[in-house]
Symmetry: C2
Amino acid sequence: MTRAIVFILLAAAARGALMPLPVKMTPGSGRLAIDGRFGVTGSGCPAPAIARFQTRIARQTGIPLGATGQGLSVTCRAPAPELPTLGEDESYTLDVTAGGARLTAPTTTGVLRGFETFAQLIAPGSDGFEVPAVHIEDRPRFPWRGMMMDVSRHWMPVEVVERNLDAMAAVKLNVFHWHLSDDQGFRVQSKLFPKLQQFGSDGNFYTQDQIREVVAYARARGIRVIPEFDLPGHATSWVVGMPELAAAPGPYQIERKWGIFAPVLNAASDRTYAFLDAFIGEMAGLFPDPYFHIGGDEVEDAQAKTLQPRFNQRVQALLTRHGKTMVGWDEVLAPGLAPGTLVQSWRGPEALAETARKGYRGILSYGYYLNYLLPASTHYAVDPGDAEGILGGEACMWAEYVSAETVDAVIWPRMAAIAERFWSSKEVKDVNSMYQRMEATSRWLEWTGVEHRAHYLPMLERLAGGQPLEPLLVLADASEAGGHDLRAQTGQYTSWTALNRFVDAARAESEPVRHLQQAVARLTAADRKTIRARLREWVENDARFQAMVDGDSFLGELAPLSRNLKTAGEIGLRAIDYLESNAPAPADWVAQQNHALDEIAQPVAEVILAAVRPVRLLVTAAGR
Amino acid sequence: MTRAIVFILLAAAARGALMPLPVKMTPGSGRLAIDGRFGVTGSGCPAPAIARFQTRIARQTGIPLGATGQGLSVTCRAPAPELPTLGEDESYTLDVTAGGARLTAPTTTGVLRGFETFAQLIAPGSDGFEVPAVHIEDRPRFPWRGMMMDVSRHWMPVEVVERNLDAMAAVKLNVFHWHLSDDQGFRVQSKLFPKLQQFGSDGNFYTQDQIREVVAYARARGIRVIPEFDLPGHATSWVVGMPELAAAPGPYQIERKWGIFAPVLNAASDRTYAFLDAFIGEMAGLFPDPYFHIGGDEVEDAQAKTLQPRFNQRVQALLTRHGKTMVGWDEVLAPGLAPGTLVQSWRGPEALAETARKGYRGILSYGYYLNYLLPASTHYAVDPGDAEGILGGEACMWAEYVSAETVDAVIWPRMAAIAERFWSSKEVKDVNSMYQRMEATSRWLEWTGVEHRAHYLPMLERLAGGQPLEPLLVLADASEAGGHDLRAQTGQYTSWTALNRFVDAARAESEPVRHLQQAVARLTAADRKTIRARLREWVENDARFQAMVDGDSFLGELAPLSRNLKTAGEIGLRAIDYLESNAPAPADWVAQQNHALDEIAQPVAEVILAAVRPVRLLVTAAGR
């Protein structure tokens, strides 16, 4: 199907909310009504999956659905597998006509994927909600489409994990990589070695029942769970309660800062391997997936580094003994690494290429670090590639600067763009289409229960502290939160630092600023009016904002940011004056303004003034 | 303390977020910092209450609190009672200084009330969050401060009940009246008579374990739970599974419409009383509070009405046998009613006065019906009065036109104003102060978990269906949802009707419109500028809105409303022109505009155009 047809269909279907885009889509004529009589009939699909799907539709539409409705008929050709499995068939075919819809798939997992597509197609129409007639054939490009969540540096309770699993399933991701231990916390209950969580977690760990609950929750959504226990480095939390495992004598404390730290497990002691044998055996019973991640990254101690290849080989032998296949970060790629090992590449395309060249399988995470707070377009442009042995990729959510309150907003909606990269054809790469659909996706994702949009206003209200929200909101809408590196530069963060400032409320990517950039690119008369109004708002906002900051530490640090926004507005207004005067702005004026914009593009309170981008476009246009 | 001092203190303390206002407040000097080291120490307060309080503070401030902090020292003079009890001492004294805070109360319940006050005092300051120094002595005016929730007409899952209990506790309410049965649903599991829920609930009922969970949840928050089983009318759902209890032969179906229906229990049959004896006995074991509500309202069948006094007496005897005191609606007040009965007045002040005159105790609900969607000021002006035997009041949340998604927004924040009426002195009646504090309260209430603000934007986004939200939001901010009577007039609602239209998203009271009315009342030069901008926005919004409605049933019904908003804006702008011209508008112009405003004040799609109110003020001002 040509791209033109895709977009005609998209305009009709759910107003462009399909993400990831299916492989093949053919529009039909007519529409299927979604009302109180809607329901699912058919065979081979587990009742809980149908019930969840109905609940999702009911939330999304606000329609109370009875248990006995019909409209979508499901045919699943094979019984549900015991577990979601790497490489299983996830394809499905969806046919929607005015008379009803039919979803056919060879496996339950395919049905789950098709349910999500169907839900995305529902849109308001002339007589309530409806799905446009369409024929869809779909299957994933990569079999490994994952997200890693670090629950060590900041604790993420079960409900955070589960709501993110729901959102992952909604964009057809199928691997949840659970980074369960690091220097700052050991997050799983071990019954054999209870000192691990007793001394290494501040009481914040998952019980074994909770682990089983999450694994079952993910399984029901067609998502595999890969546990990671990072070894032999990043292991401070292990040796707080069990210093006998460490390469150097203790005592140790849970690490409260961020970085790379000295404590490593003792790779030279048989006691370490005896412990790991028992520990891996216990964890193998909790995590049914055959893949098991041992970390292996960022060991800096020279001696430990020397011992690491041998350490990895012995751990690998233990994993094999317990029926597991090893996964490790780039650094595990060393002579003697057993064939079949899966290497997760965080260092870059060269590292991944080397993995493939050496005959190992790999997944790409370089380019998909959500905590860098890069634009979705940057992630979207990174492709795992088609080399033999590359199974797909994983986005990584490292948790130095996120809490249970803020983590969803760092993951979503940008994660949806990465999910499309993993699922859809590599030819699907139109950034404008991606952003249009990602914005719609960001909204319907709320019906899955994920809270990426829920905390923005409350967190800003918290900072406003009973003062008017509006001036703070104008500033926040024009701003973007600084990412990992910028925040690390301040060097003052620990586990105890409250993540309740403006930078924690601000978004990774500002939608209002993106819309303004689009308006600047078009620059019709109507656009100029809109742009002028927004620029004036920025200018006028400063006085109102400054009136609020007196004696308030949260707002006080933002005073320069608000002044910068005023400056951006003033520059933009002068640029528009030039544009409307039909005479280009003098080159020295352009240079001067660009210099001023460079100044105010500097971070303030770890926040970036996104408003600079459209103003820069205006200045450039004014000079032409 | 004079009102002036109250307001000076309020300006400092939490910027006016205290609700209900305490009896006595004396400002001190300095402030207590709330940071990661904050915690509660002391004796006599249950650990779970302290843990909940710390979690609340952590959510509200975004500060991770350890388990070992200090700052608030609690002294509770008596051990916790088994149950919250009518008339128990709920007083507390709170002293905050720069060095620490002290909370003293004779009972655990008093400590809980003091915790809520403390939480409300926290505000951003010059070095993070802080509480201003203050001395507070506080106790409630009425011992019965309740909210009734109808879970029969629309099913409210446990989480809806629990999040509302949290919000109730936050504004010091102490009675949850649970309307558990009505024509449209029987919502409790009976093990003795399982046909009740099997045939009378569509599967939507609370298990006995869930009932115990909710009762314990409420108890931990100092809230009594009063069950209501409405008898002998409003009983259709009972007789679907047990037609032998009905006065007329069945069969019966669960009622799907709203109103007053014929089925009544057979008051002439001994079998009915034998059943009720066993049923009340079973329920008495589930609900530990000594008060038990038997409804008794709205029986229309002439014969049943004649039998009702005798029916009530026999039920009362059964309740006494099971250790319960009867509560009933106004209609139970008839000759022969046992002394000690508590009468809940929904008919009005005369009914309540009659109750008191006859020596019974009473609570007031007339004037507190949340489902009428009246302004908070209307409820705030209603006072239960000081007559002997009046224990307080209850707001009522009847559920014909609310779902689990919308109910919180109908209850809150207006419920907080009623809670203040029940707790604070009757001298506390400044409506401006109430609104100012209610707005702040609406925001901090979000930290309790209640979802009254959470669904507004998502519900509007659902209607926008991927089109721009802004035009719909401008319209929604200028609108208010019609209440019970207006919606009942359409006459088309059943239990199956989706509550997903604009009227369901619109608020009971528009804050933006209230702010505009305040600006019109001041009418400074800055206000005139703000007002003009808003009026222009209304005028310009219509074209953008009309461009969205084509072929969309949800937006199509709003097209006249949007045109009306444009008209309101135009009239308002002309009125401002007159005001700025320094010559009064001609009387016939004023009359003409008022006529036009009368027209557009008519409901459209069950929605009221709140925008008419400030425009009417402008027109009146222009004519003076």
